[in-house]
Amino acid sequence: MLAHIGRRIVATIPVMAIVALFVFSLLYIAPGDPAAVIAGEQASPEDVEKIRRGLGLDRPFLSRFGDWSWHILQGDLGTSMFTGLPVTQLIVQRLEPTLSLMVVTLILAVTIAVPMGVMAAWKAGTWVDRGLMAFAVLGFSVPVFVVGYLLAYVFALELDWFPVQGYTPLSAGFWPWLENLVLPAIALGCVYIALIARITRASMLEVLQQDYIRTAQSKGMGQGGILFVHALKNAAVPIVTVIGIGVALLIGGAVVTESVFAIPGLGRLTIDAIVRRDYPVIQGIVLLFSLVYVLVNLVVDVLYTLLDPRIRY
């Protein structure tokens, strides 16, 4: 078990190295000369050359990549070209809202989607199934910011149940924090719910045909027990997989959701960085989110062996 986890962790290193190489190339081929930007308008070509040599920008690609990677491993993501602040500091400042949004969405989506998929599989072929799956197709098709505006319009502007926009830090109390996150989480969760519900249904349908389900039924076990104890546990591997893969949707969607609901998180930082062409910040964010995504899927991989002891590597 430990050896297996160790192997999986080692296997993520080349993946992250390729992500890093890719992200570094982005800055390398980025238009504009950082040395000229730093030197300013009045600088002579000699000054620019001096700064370039000072920053090591005249060195070959691989040598710069090695240097850059070494700094990243030490937690130094470079300096923002616009604000002059360390990228790490900028990211840490904006981390809480984004992390809150993603965690709330994840919990909300899983608690809605899994029972939804189980229900659809149990009632397969009926109008319940059709209705739930129609909702799933809709969830895939309506873009996250459309759902966001719709929810904000109905539940915040018209009904006034929730705040329209903004974010309250967790330190200001749990309920105010949650109140601000409900609508964004539903908006962001829609695609995710649709994805998980579909896979749950497919996986459950497969399992419900097994002999041991019939055995459980014939010994008089309750329907709920059969569905959630016998069936769901055996259907769990594809579900957990898709929950891991779907985190990519959450990350991409968070950027947009934050802009709809004016949440000052990493999404806002990303958009500001794009507008200002602040490449080190963009690099830092892409690297961070990719690392989160890879780690989530690493956890999923480890979970397989816990969920299904038959899986051995």
């Binding site: 080349p14 993946v15 992250m16 190295a17 390729i18 992500v19 190489l21 890719f22 992200v23 982005l26 081929i29 980025a30 238009p31 397969a124 072929g125 197709v137 809709l138 895939f140 098709s141 309506v142 873009p143 996250v144 910011f145 459309v146 505006y149 719709l150 319009y153 502007l157 329209v164 579909r198 896979i199 249904r201 497919a202 349908l205 497969e206 990519a248 949707l249 990350i251 991409g252 969607g253 950027v255 947009v256 802009s259 990303t270 958009i271 960085a273 794009i274 507008v275 062409r277 490449y279 963009i282 690099q283 964010i285 892409v286 989110f289 990719s290 995504y293 890879v294």
Partner: protein
């Protein structure tokens, strides 16, 4: 059951010396075979509905100039932020441009981006997937690179690429294609690896068929079905990503009316003039829905074993 017993009863009532045509017990209802176009629609309602909706959107895109539209970029500051009326069906935006005209012309950008990305990503993915599945020594390296690219969430990758270049429709297409094609490559590689083990491929090898011919005759036709399904999903996803990129200001240039741009411009006013955001949003959602339904229907049609599962 009741139909059967009633037909038996009528048989018994006839005297045995009278020759009559024996009544067929109608246990099996007659199978009505539906052929032609109507039959296709009956058997694949999702494809029919998705295709009809998509054709409607394509017609809007092609016929945009003839649908009672005006120049989508014409400014008339005196008539800005009008609510929907007989003159301006979808109202006007903050610069006085006709939202109806802009939404109709916006269909062009969304569909063009969706289809271009679907085709380009499929071709790139097919090429890389075939190489990876056939050239064993390249497989490890190629798949590690694909894994790395797939570890960057697609929207973020597209955003990062767009930050490097000028805003233009072709750059948007390139950025989304780069973000999407590794998934196709992975799919094609998987299909190729399983096909290589098939007896008919062994037979072709034994018969001395050259590799290019095996790929063309045996491998390629079998990758088409899963690839078509994947391509429709990529098309749907590309249209959403284009709208998201434009919405956050990293996509189609602002002077081109695309659904994402119209929404981005309506964003500042959405609390007072929500229609500017809602009309393009509705069209975008319907188009994506059409493509998704088409994809679901195609998947069920091309792989009946999976039908009704997902």
């Amino acid at each position: 059951m009741s139909a059967q017993s009633s037909s038996l009863a009528s048989t018994v009532a006839i005297p045995s010396n009278v020759a009559v045509e024996p009544a067929m017990p109608d246990v099996l209802p007659p199978i009505k075979v539906r052929r032609g176009f109507a039959g296709f629609v009956y058997r694949h309602p999702t494809i029919a509905f998705g295709a009809a909706l998509l054709i409607a959107m394509l017609s809007i895109a092609v016929l945009a100039p003839y649908l009672g539209t005006v120049d989508p970029t014409a400014l008339s500051p005196a008539k800005r932020t009008r609510s929907p009326s007989a003159e301006f069906w979808f109202g006007t935006d903050m610069l006085g441009r006709d939202v109806y005209s802009r939404v109709m012309y916006g269909a062009r950008v969304s569909l063009a981006v969706g289809f271009s990305v679907a085709i380009l990503a499929s071709l790139a993915g097919l090429a890389i997937g075939l190489i990876s599945g056939f050239v064993r020594w390249a497989d490890g390296v190629i798949m590690r690179i694909m894994d790395g690219m797939m570890s960057i969430p697609p929207i973020l990758l597209a955003v990062a690429l767009m930050a490097l270049t000028r805003a233009s429709v072709s750059n948007v297409v390139t950025a989304i294609t780069v973000a999407e094609f590794p998934r196709v490559a992975r799919l094609v590689r998987g299909v190729v690896l399983s096909l290589r083990e098939q007896p008919y491929v062994d037979a072709a090898v034994a018969a001395g068929t050259r590799s290019p011919m095996i790929i063309l005759r045996h491998i390629l036709p079998n990758t088409l079905a899963p690839m078509t399904v994947q391509a429709t999903y990529i098309c749907a996803s590309a249209m959403i990503v284009e709208a998201i990129l434009s919405f956050i200001g990293a996509g189609t240039p602002p002077n081109v009316p695309s659904w994402g741009n119209i929404m981005a411009e309506g964003r500042a006013l959405w609390q007072v003039k929500p229609f500017i955001v809602f009309f393009p949003a509705a069209f975008l959602s319907l188009t994506v829905l059409a493509v998704n339904l088409l994809g679901d229907g195609l998947r069920d049609m091309l792989d009946p074993r999976m039908a009704k599962r997902l």
